[in-house]
């Protein structure tokens, strides 16, 4: 996401970085290039112009700072403008004093409303809330059925009734109150385009249910039309924010900028994958960092803190430091990292992920985790504790038991050995300072890197680009961990 934009900005900055000072012509050229980058990223034309003017104002309004090179100043101005354009600070969600907090979702057909509804329900459940989903899309064939299936896998109850969408929504809120649910999420019907019928229906739902939050669901791949659509919905419903869907594509996500600018409301949530867990609060400042290639370690750490079982993490960290890290711990870690979301999504948040690495991260197959698990589970407890006892005949047995080949078993063992070696190094170096949660998270990061190695080793042959997927993000992960550790010696034999 935003990859092309960040690449172009990198290029512009790179060219300016070497200059001692920027001539007006240099500046105009850089601004023109940024404009092209924005347009290629599907930022609406007017919004792109406004953005450029903002950058220009930032650069001309202030005296040139002595501590920054001209190139850095341009990057800084673009970064500041991006943060502002994406919505400044994240929206702080509050809850109604008299529950339920009613959340209304609106949007065009295919924007991803139903999926977003289920993901939001899942997200609120993770926040310790008790949501109810209300299916008021009675128009699209099987939309309610889809919501029911998704609700079941999110373990959130779904309410719907045949007939009129408005009364269904009202009854849904009533049902939430009766059941004592504190969040009530209403999924509404989409239309092909903004039309009177759609607006009337959703407006009536809004009037009758008086939602605390009205979110517009916008497909991250939308083009120039995003601005007009958002404005029409905003005029009708007074939006509180935006949920950006399908941000895990290679879409450049310019719609995010357009919508924010046009309706003046922040992007609240962004969906980054197909799984129900793949939705999170949107942090404009962090996204700006990510666009500019600075990574999003903060989000990663938060995600780790939220999803990882601290006890499991502490136990395996202890064993790791003591050099007694076995395959059972490996499996635990695998599950912990998996809980954070898709491996690709996790890796994408690491700093220094350039284009190839980002693409490679997309290609990590989460199903490989199941294969790794099958192999480990086919080992005896003794083998798991000490893989060095696994000889040829044991390998054959494990391969047969897990439905894999001995080569795959070998690969896993080899990768595991490397990982053990790495962990011993980290353990010796120690990780000074920091809060315990973050500390554990940082260690898990290192593990995540090692994991992707192991996983990619198991993956079927892929084009060369895919090899990067495995090796280099892992290296990045280790690098990150080493930086934190400060005094760690590099692993031997690598």
């Amino acid at each position: 996401m935003f990859d092309a934009l960040s690449e172009r900005l990198e290029r512009v900055a790179g060219r300016l970085r070497s200059r001692g000072r920027i001539s007006p012509a240099d500046l105009e050229e850089a601004l023109a290039e940024i404009r092209t980058a924005l347009l290629e990223a599907d930022v609406e034309l007017g919004v792109a112009r406004h953005f450029i003017e903002g950058v220009r104002a930032r650069l001309s309004g202030q005296a040139l700072s002595a501590s920054l090179t001209p190139g850095q100043q341009v990057v800084k101005a673009v970064h500041a403008q991006l943060v502002e354009a994406l919505g400044g600070q994240a929206l702080r969600l509050t809850y109604a004093s008299r529950p339920p907090t009613v959340v209304l979702l609106a949007g065009l057909q295919g924007a991803g409303k139903t999926t977003a509804a289920a993901k939001l329900a899942r997200w609120w459940r993770g926040q310790g809330r008790n949501p109810l989903l209300v299916g008021a899309d009675l128009q699209r064939p099987a939309a309610v059925e889809q919501l029911r299936v998704l609700g079941a896998s999110a373990q959130v109850r779904v309410f719907s009734q045949p007939g009129d969408p408005v009364s269904t929504a009202v009854a849904g809120v009533e049902e939430a109150r009766r059941l004592g649910r504190d969040v009530c999420i209403i999924d509404t019907a989409g239309r092909l385009s903004v039309d009177q019928e759609l607006m009337d229906e959703v407006r009536r739902i809004s009037e009758r249910t008086e939602p605390h939050y009205t979110f517009l669901v916008v497909d991250a791949m939308t083009g120039q039309d995003a601005a007009a659509t958002a404005r029409a919905f905003h005029d009708a419903l007074a939006l509180d924010g935006v949920v950006l869907s399908k941000l895990d594509s290679d879409a450049r996500g310019g719609a995010a900028l357009s919508v924010k600018e046009v309706v003046g409301r922040p992007i609240v949530f962004a969906s980054t994958g197909e799984r129900l867990e793949d939705l999170d609060l949107f942090h404009p400042d962090r996204m700006a960092d990510r666009i500019l290639g600075m990574g999003d370690v903060l989000s990663l750490i938060e995600q780790a803190e939220r999803t990882m079982d601290q006890e499991v993490v502490a136990r395996s960290a202890e064993r790791m430091l003591a050099g007694r890290f076995g395959l059972d711990d490996f499996l635990d870690q695998l599950h912990q990292v998996r809980k954070m979301g898709s491996l690709g999504g996790v890796l994408r948040m690491l700093p220094g992920m350039n284009r190839e690495l980002r693409q490679a991260a997309d290609q990590i197959d989460d199903r490989q985790v199941a294969r790794v698990e099958a192999i480990v589970r086919s080992m005896t407890p003794a083998e798991r504790a000490d893989p060095s006892i696994i000889d040829g005949s044991r390998r054959v047995r494990i391969a047969r038991g897990s439905g894999s080949s001995t080569q795959e078993v070998n690969q896993l063992l080899k990768q595991f050995k490397e990982m053990q070696k790495l962990m011993r190094t980290v353990g010796r170096g120690g990780v000074p300072g920091g809060r315990m949660g973050r500390l554990a998270a940082a260690r898990d990061l290192a593990a995540a890197g090692g994991l992707s190695d192991a996983l990619a080793g198991l993956a079927p042959p892929r084009p060369p680009a895919a090899d990067l997927a495995s090796g280099r993000p892992a290296a990045r992960g280790r690098k990150g961990a080493r930086k934190k550790g400060g005094r760690v010696t590099p692993p031997k034999g690598r």
Binding site: A142, L150, L192, S193, M221, D225, D248
Partner: protein, 331 residues
């Protein structure tokens, strides 16, 4: 910043949708039927884009006309590269006045579409062969709906159609297609949720062979073109669909008309993976201009074959380049 709001007044009542004769042609290709009034009518909404250019009048500045044309193309999602190349080729033709710029632009666009003249949809009429059309695309573009509409159109043309619900991933996708199959009055083959889509396709084609169906329409799960594993799955579906009696005669990429430049990436990746033969531009009845099909036609040589212009069963019509260009730049 001022954003122009395009609020179009409806010019007359929308014409009733033609129910027949709107469907795609088959081998041997028949001449494309003239575009039904509905297409022009619906596309008419995009005309506002070129209004500033037209407002320059006959004696306006040519330079201003280029700027206005550039802006309109960008706003239509044509993309920076294609827009710039169109504008520079316009300059070379040295048009006279803003009107000349507009006319020259229409000519250039018509030339782009003329590069891909064959927009027919193929059905193999050999005994013992079941033609297979695969519908592919990213999530939420309208594949299932498109399959339902095509099923109706083909049945009305006399084809014996079987639907294959190979989207076993999205919750209730099969149910949605089942409702379409009832509305269109064609048979449906579906597998268990979560089952291997290739096996659903295989079974559907076997069944079609046994029942004597001519055509199997395969609704595949939406997948982002960046997900290698899902694209691999699609390749496998295609391989399986080509096994006798099946023969893949069309692979149709469904695009959402509101999609921006990412549509180009989608077209490129899906073509590389499964050999897309044509594009279905869905959801064109919005304010969306669908201008991204211009770089798709021009750079990838992929013809747009069908256009979805409404929500009704009969609102899927053959793509008519002249009507599209006419509606885009207006006249």
């Amino acid at each position: 910043m001022v954003l122009r709001r395009r609020r179009r007044t409806q010019q007359g009542e929308p014409a009733p949708e033609p129910a027949t004769g709107s469907a795609p042609t088959s081998t041997p290709p028949e001449p494309t039927p003239p575009a039904p009034p509905a297409l022009r009518e619906r596309l008419g909404r995009t005309r506002g884009l070129f209004a500033p250019l037209r407002a320059l009048g006959a004696r306006g500045e040519v330079a201003a006309a280029y700027d206005a044309a550039e802006e309109a193309l960008l706003r239509a999602d044509v993309g920076v590269e294609t827009t710039q190349s169109l504008i520079s080729s316009l300059r070379q033709s040295r048009p006279v006045g803003p009107g000349g710029v507009l006319a020259a632009l229409a000519d250039r666009l018509a030339e782009v579409f003329a590069e891909n003249p064959d927009r027919s949809l193929r059905v193999e009429r050999a005994p013992g062969v079941v033609s297979v059309w695969l519908f592919v695309g990213v999530n939420g573009v309208g594949k299932t709906t498109t399959v339902g509409k095509v099923a109706l159109a083909r049945r009305e043309q006399g084809d014996s159609v079987l639907l294959a619900a190979a989207d076993t991933f999205r919750a209730a996708a099969g149910d949605q297609l089942a409702q379409w199959s009832e509305r269109a009055g064609v048979a449906l083959h579906r597998g268990a949720p979560g089952s291997d889509p290739s096996s659903v396709v295989f079974d559907a084609i076997q069944r079609a062979g046994a029942r004597g169906n001519d055509l199997v329409l395969v609704d595949t799960a939406g997948r982002l073109h960046t997900k290698v594993n899902l694209i691999e799955e699609l390749r496998k579906i295609r391989r399986v669909a080509d096994r006798p009696p099946g023969r893949v005669t069309e692979v149709l990429l469904v695009l959402d008309a509101t999609t921006g430049q990412n549509a180009l990436a989608q077209a490129r990746q899906f073509t590389e993976a499964v050999g897309v033969t044509g594009v279905v531009l869905a959801k064109l009845d919005g304010t969306a201009k669908g201008g991204v099909v211009i770089p798709i036609e021009r750079q990838l040589g992929l013809p747009v074959k069908l256009v979805g212009v409404g929500e009704g069963l009969a609102d899927l019509v053959p793509f008519d380049p002249a009507a599209f260009v006419d509606a885009l730049v207006g006249a």
